[in-house]
Symmetry: C2
Subunit: 296 residues, 2 copies
Amino acid sequence: MIYGFVGMGLMGGSLAKAIRKYVVVNTDAIYGFDISKVVLEDAMLDGTIDAMFYPKKQDSSVDANDYPVKKMLAKCDIVFVCLYPSASLHFIVKYQNYFKSGAIVTDISGVKTKLCEGLENDFKRSDVSVIPAHPMAGSEREGYTHSSSEMFKGRNYIFVPLQHTNKNKITILKEIARNIGFTHIIETTAKIHDHKIAFTSQLCHVIAASLVCSAEDTSITKFGGGSFEDLTRIAMINVPLWTELFTADKATLVQHIENFEESLRTIKTAIEKEDIHDMSTILESVRKKRIEMAMH
Amino acid sequence: MIYGFVGMGLMGGSLAKAIRKYVVVNTDAIYGFDISKVVLEDAMLDGTIDAMFYPKKQDSSVDANDYPVKKMLAKCDIVFVCLYPSASLHFIVKYQNYFKSGAIVTDISGVKTKLCEGLENDFKRSDVSVIPAHPMAGSEREGYTHSSSEMFKGRNYIFVPLQHTNKNKITILKEIARNIGFTHIIETTAKIHDHKIAFTSQLCHVIAASLVCSAEDTSITKFGGGSFEDLTRIAMINVPLWTELFTADKATLVQHIENFEESLRTIKTAIEKEDIHDMSTILESVRKKRIEMAMH
């Protein structure tokens, strides 16, 4: 069984390291493709990958000189496409004819509706199972250098099968997910996924960014007790990635922002009026709700 | 040297445990007062305190039968008043005549202007040094049960001296602070303290509460990747404490909320317009600002 990774950044690198550590036993098992040869050399040196593939002409486009990536895809039984959302769709559709027959192809992107629609329309191989998925982990530090085999412990992995996705193939991916540390593994639709993730992920990044934005100066952390630091760690944001995620389904995100603005206004009003009764009622219900959330 | 703790909750308990572990050597060194005899018995059993003092009549008021607390205060060289903000002022003023001559009295509360004004006006002992302070640590879990000697590692401790505070006495407290793990120890005015803390602490709690409030349901954490969890941990709020902190200087807090609302609106507008250039500019500057903050 050969695992292929397209993109060896934070996520691709972490998945490859975790599969190396917790899943594979043989030594010809993990192949990596990246536009950066340097990254691949690091991954070869630390033993994460067994073979490396990169465009001969080192530029910023995956398309440039694509013989190496085609060569890799032809050998892989499971391919993890670990690119930005729109690049993932583009890649899978463009290289669809080069996947090995019987292969499983999955991705990592945080928005699913456009990806799933694109795949339903443009992916024609019935002997290859594309299973869109979202391993919910990350870090404010980017790139292969910060990847870790331990990043998935106790995390959520969400599968968003296409209409004709083979159930057995999903079972294989779920088994891998469990082995590398994920504890909550669910299946849902692209629509539900995007609605929920716009809240738990995109909205949180918008809030963190706004909070940093509104800080008077950078020395404010001298007065920090942990709360500000925890709320804003994710504001050390990967700009091109999050610009793409914020606009992928902007209507849903804007709706979440507006619901949040309304809750904020309610609490602000209670503070302005020094309405202790109102404030206590709201805060008691928030406390109860958050404790219940921690139990899921 | 005898250390006295008035209130053995999360903060009083943690300070006492840290001083036991990292500061004192002798076995008759730490005394605890609390309205709950059960808590004191726990602290005696685990070796945190050497003597316990509690109102004989177990009700919810410190004032009820106050002979024991007076007896404790008379023996203590350093007293940590670990009560809610308004209770701290009330306690120090009410029992001012019972502190040992030469004693240092300090507190832990997160708002300082009212406390400092109250003390400047109503505290009359010139042979006792009251040093208002704010050890910036905490937990979403309350009470002595969750207290820990390790809670202060790498944290900020802010001293807010009164007009006539003896500098030597501050030096003694700072030395203790360093020994129990605090790494950033500063002095400032009550006004600056309250302005900064309203941002790093109160505003963050308001945001966390609003975010939980705006969640559609409690199963949202099934779709969590860490961001939502990090942003809302502090929403498991101690309601009476935070109701008091939110209203202590509501004008400043409301101003911070409104600045945050404005930053949020700016980002929302860029998303609505899909203005990639604007969004990238804002997010780049946020990223840079937050990285700089982490360096302080």
